[in-house]
Symmetry: C2
Subunit: 175 residues, 2 copies
């Protein structure tokens, strides 16, 4: 029986942060200070008067449909899918308008994956897989299997989990 | 820590079969023979020349939005939600157009539940809860906790799982 890997979407397969930064810089005409992103979510790294807009961007109807694919994620997940049961597990329920868009995004960019292996949830504590690759410590903290943290600026200070910095390091760990 | 219960939507919380029967009878003008539903899915209980339409009905864009609520499910789930962590786990991924409608249906009829406890998936083998209430033996067969089968005409011959015939029996078992 193959081992099962749960893989998060945003910040792991899909570059949500990159789009948020671009939207913010376009709207306010000032660059995000990348040093301040270290250990912080974007909303905590910008002018506090503007921090509410980040959440508004996430709730825009088509926010998740055209996110850029994280480098090497397609090739590595294609290989992982040969040797493991790969589940795409995303906490999408907070953004109900995103459900159809996330599905379409997965079909467009990861067409080799089966819909049977998509999981849109809220709380990841009920996921039973052997591994979980995620950028959010709060998801990894409630997971029962082996947690793997995927580097994102906000989590660089986190030391509780085995870390992968990019998809090449995921390949080196699992393949 | 509360125990966790996964509850299926179609045939358990939502009367999908009732709507399918009504649609079929309206389109073909002949009643479904209820005796033939015993141990069979609807598509296997009707004229074989028409059996393909059942799947077509399921794929219609708004099929899942206006399903009737199963008797007593609201009151019993309201009570369960006080004493357990209740997760609504539906294999919705086969019907991507249903995702938004299922979410809206849950918000309309089960507004006391939190989106954090909704799970839209394909394969239920990756669900980690203490109990699962479901009408489909194939979902219960891959579940790792205690399986409870909710009676639906197609599953009446199934003997592998503890059975509940209605929501009053769910209340008697869990409350």
């Amino acid at each position: 029986m193959k081992q099962k890997i749960a893989i998060d979407m945003d910040e792991v397969m899909a570059d949500a942060l990159g789009k948020l930064i671009r939207m913010y810089e376009e709207e306010y005409g000032k660059p995000v200070n990348m040093d301040r992103l270290r250990g912080n979510m974007l909303q905590d790294a910008i002018d506090p008067d503007h921090s509410h807009v980040i959440r508004e961007y996430l709730f825009r109807k088509d926010f998740f449909r055209d996110l850029a694919v994280m480098p090497d994620s397609q090739a590595v997940i294609f290989e992982l899918n040969r040797f493991y049961d790969v589940y795409i597990v995303t906490a999408a329920m907070e953004f109900p308008d995103s459900l159809g868009h996330k599905y379409a995004w997965l079909q467009e960019h990861f067409s080799f994956l089966n819909w049977q292996n998509f999981v849109f949830c809220g709380d990841k504590s009920i996921i039973r897989t052997d591994y979980m690759i995620d950028d959010l410590p709060r998801n990894l903290a409630v997971f029962s299997g082996e947690s793997v943290i995927f580097t994102s600026p906000h989590n660089v200070e986190e030391t509780r989990y085995r870390r992968v910095n990019n998809w090449q390091e995921v390949a080196a760990m699992f393949l």
